[in-house]
């Protein structure tokens, strides 16, 4: 990003905080309903430095990382199969769409029941929520490869592996990364939903504790802020990898 772009982002943030403060002042809402930004900032600082947030953050990051890895990995394989095999597409598509259409919020308690309240349940939820956008993006990307290039490759007796690595993957990468950008933010949502359904640690648990046991609304905001930052950071990581592999789009 250029310096001007960064300034724009900072400007939007400043406007956001000012509007937030303005609403608090004008509405007179008490802190347990809407804490002012400076109160959230101080609470965030305290929660970050006194060890309140860090253990929960670590747990959530592990769930997101493994869940995203598993979900995206499977999605790449299945997405390729969907793109290249009409039979696979015909057989799997209804189930994939059905899985995507079913609210993850309704599935999460079931997963907690089946896979327990440990890491496995969260990984499954993350993987499921990540799977669809990455699989669809992979399928679209692979199908977008110029048929004439594929024909050319075959006429030059390129092996299946050579076609995959030199033609299909490079051509599909922009689409795949598009799916991963969406998928990585959804992975964070999946982890939080999984933690709500049953866990003893994680940022989702901390929200519940702040809301249900401590009645600490500023801590709830601090946790939400942390979740948002995690989502943005992971998104930027994917963008950085994409730029390295594909270049600026």
């Amino acid at each position: 990003m250029t310096r001007g772009a960064w300034l724009s982002v900072a400007g939007v943030f400043v406007v956001f905080v000012l509007v937030w403060k303005g609403i608090v002042v004008l509405s007179g809402l008490p802190p347990f309903i809407l804490p002012p930004p400076e109160m959230v900032a101080i609470r965030s600082l305290v929660a970050w430095t006194d060890g309140t947030i860090l253990p929960h953050l670590g747990t959530t990051l592990v769930e997101v990382a493994i869940g995203f890895g598993v979900g995206a990995g499977l999605a790449l394989v299945i997405g390729y199969a969907l793109a290249r095999s009409a039979v696979v597409e015909r057989l799997l598509s209804p189930y994939l769409v059905a899985a995507q259409a079913t609210p993850i919020l309704a599935l999460a308690p079931l997963f907690a029941l089946w896979f327990g309240s440990g890491l496995l349940g969260k990984v499954v939820i993350c993987a499921l929520i990540v799977f669809f956008p990455v699989a669809v993006a992979t399928m679209v990307g692979i199908r977008s490869v110029d048929a004439r290039l594929l024909e050319l490759g075959r006429s030059l007796r390129a092996t299946r592996r050579q076609i995959l690595t030199t033609l299909e993957i490079p051509a599909a990468l922009p689409n795949i990364f598009g799916g991963m950008r969406v998928g990585v933010t959804l992975a964070v949502v999946g982890a939080i939903v999984g933690e709500w359904a049953g866990a003893d640690r994680g940022l989702g648990v901390l929200i519940n504790l702040a809301r249900g046991s401590l009645f600490d609304t500023p801590l709830m905001f601090a946790t939400l802020l942390t979740i948002a930052l995690v989502g943005i950071a992971l998104y930027l990581v994917v963008v950085a990898i994409e730029r390295r592999l594909v270049g600026v789009r």
Binding site: M1, G4, A5, L7, S8, V9, G11, V12, V15, F16, V19, W20, I23, L26, S27, L29, P30, P31, F32, I33, L34, Q100, P109, A112, L113, S117, F132, P133, R181, V182, T185, L186, V189, A197, G198, A199, D200, V205, N208, L209, R211, G212, S213, L214, F215, D216, T217, I232, Y235
Partner: protein
């Protein structure tokens, strides 16, 4: 998912184009202003005919007859249940109507209910006493006006065959609990402390999906936390002999009771007092004849009619929990002020009271009279 795609687009735009970033900021402004306009308390249906007389907090409110019925929004627990039988009975028998009230029930989970009562969106509701203390400490303006559960309903239960008969017997045992939070966790710590134990002296097994009863039944844990009127009753109904360890004898923790917002008590104290009085009347009737309560609950929640015996057992356990030592002498609804003071000290030791609170910050006297 479309919301996340929109988010992605917005982020992309904000990173790449300053003009669009300005548009984004304008959009955020509009959304936040709309939220502020629509986020105020709702559902406080104060009629123009509402009584103007407002008892001061701590004073005995007089119940003034009102010319027109006054609407009260009442928050009960998460789902309709036989344990709310007094409210159903008072509604069906017309006690609320006699008091000049039109009562509307809403089912909410405890944390939401406490916040909504503090906000004034719900006029009165059932809240855990152990939630009221940290909530008031965090600045939520609510008061506890009448006790519903005179005995703390969270208990540790075990099969009699486990050999557990006292808190000291929990040492080294596996104890199931939904999590290290809330009133159940507070109760367990107090119970262990009474025997000179800490959670480190036992093996805690977490059941966030609230399946700890099945764990006790199957022998996966030696004991578990639960509600006196739920898990132990169901375990007993399955044929097991059950031991229940209550915390009341060692640390008097305030059980769930009726809570109201400070502003509501100031503006509509008469209505709150009338509501409490009518509810306590129904509790007395159900205590004398549980069948009346069961019938009222079935009329309100027909789905529970298929398990009458189990529901009656749950109701009987609930009735038993209404009366602690204070209520046995002063009547149902009475507030154990010494118990509250001790609880504040205990929760402060546990680090759950970040800002100091006094008894008057927590409890509003005069609303739980039983002299009718």
């Amino acid at each position: 998912m479309s919301r996340f795609i929109e988010l992605e687009v917005l982020l992309l735009l904000s990173f790449r184009r300053s003009r669009h970033a300005r548009l984004l900021s304008m959009g955020l402004t509009v959304v936040l202003l709309a939220a502020a306009c629509g986020g105020g308390p709702s559902g406080s249906p104060a009629d123009s005919a509402s009584p103007a007389t407002s008892p001061s907090l701590g004073a005995s409110p007089a119940v003034a007859p009102s010319t027109e019925p006054l609407k009260l929004t009442v928050g009960l627990g998460y789902i309709p249940s036989v344990q709310f039988a007094p409210f159903y009975l008072a509604q069906q028998a017309g006690y609320y109507a006699e008091a000049g009230l039109i009562v509307e029930f809403q089912n909410k989970i405890d944390p939401d209910l406490i916040t909504l009562v503090g906000q004034g969106a719900i006029d009165i509701g059932i809240g855990d006493g152990t939630s009221v203390i940290p909530a008031v400490s965090q600045g939520i303006p609510i008061r506890y006006v009448a006790t519903i559960y005179g005995q703390f309903p969270n208990v540790v239960f075990a099969k009699a065959s486990s050999g557990i008969t006292s808190p000291a017997d929990l040492a080294g045992r596996k104890i199931g609990t939904p999590g290290r939070y809330g009133s159940g966790w507070i109760m367990l710590q107090a119970l262990l402390e009474s025997a000179g134990l800490t959670p480190e002296d036992v093996e805690i097994v977490e059941y966030p999906d609230f399946t700890q009863r099945a764990a006790v039944e199957q022998g996966a844990v030696d004991a578990a936390t639960g509600f006196a009127n739920n898990e132990p009753v169901q375990l007993e109904l399955s044929g097991a002999e059950v031991v229940v360890l209550r915390v009341d004898a060692v640390t008097p923790l305030p059980g769930p009771g009726l809570i109201a917002g400070v502003a509501t008590l100031g503006a509509r104290g008469d209505a709150i007092a009338a509501f409490v009085k009518a509810t306590l009347r129904a509790m007395d009737e159900i205590t004398a004849n549980p069948q009346v309560g069961l019938d009222a609950a079935i009329a309100a929640v027909p789905e529970i009619a298929s398990a009458r015996d189990a529901q009656l057992a749950i109701l009987s356990a609930t009735i038993e929990s209404w009366t602690g030592p204070i209520q046995a002498t002063a009547g149902l609804g009475a507030i154990d002020r010494d118990g509250w003071t001790a609880s504040v000290e205990y929760l402060t030791r546990l680090g759950l009271v970040p800002n100091p609170v006094t008894l008057d910050d927590l409890v509003a006297g005069g609303f739980s009279r039983t002299d009718y």
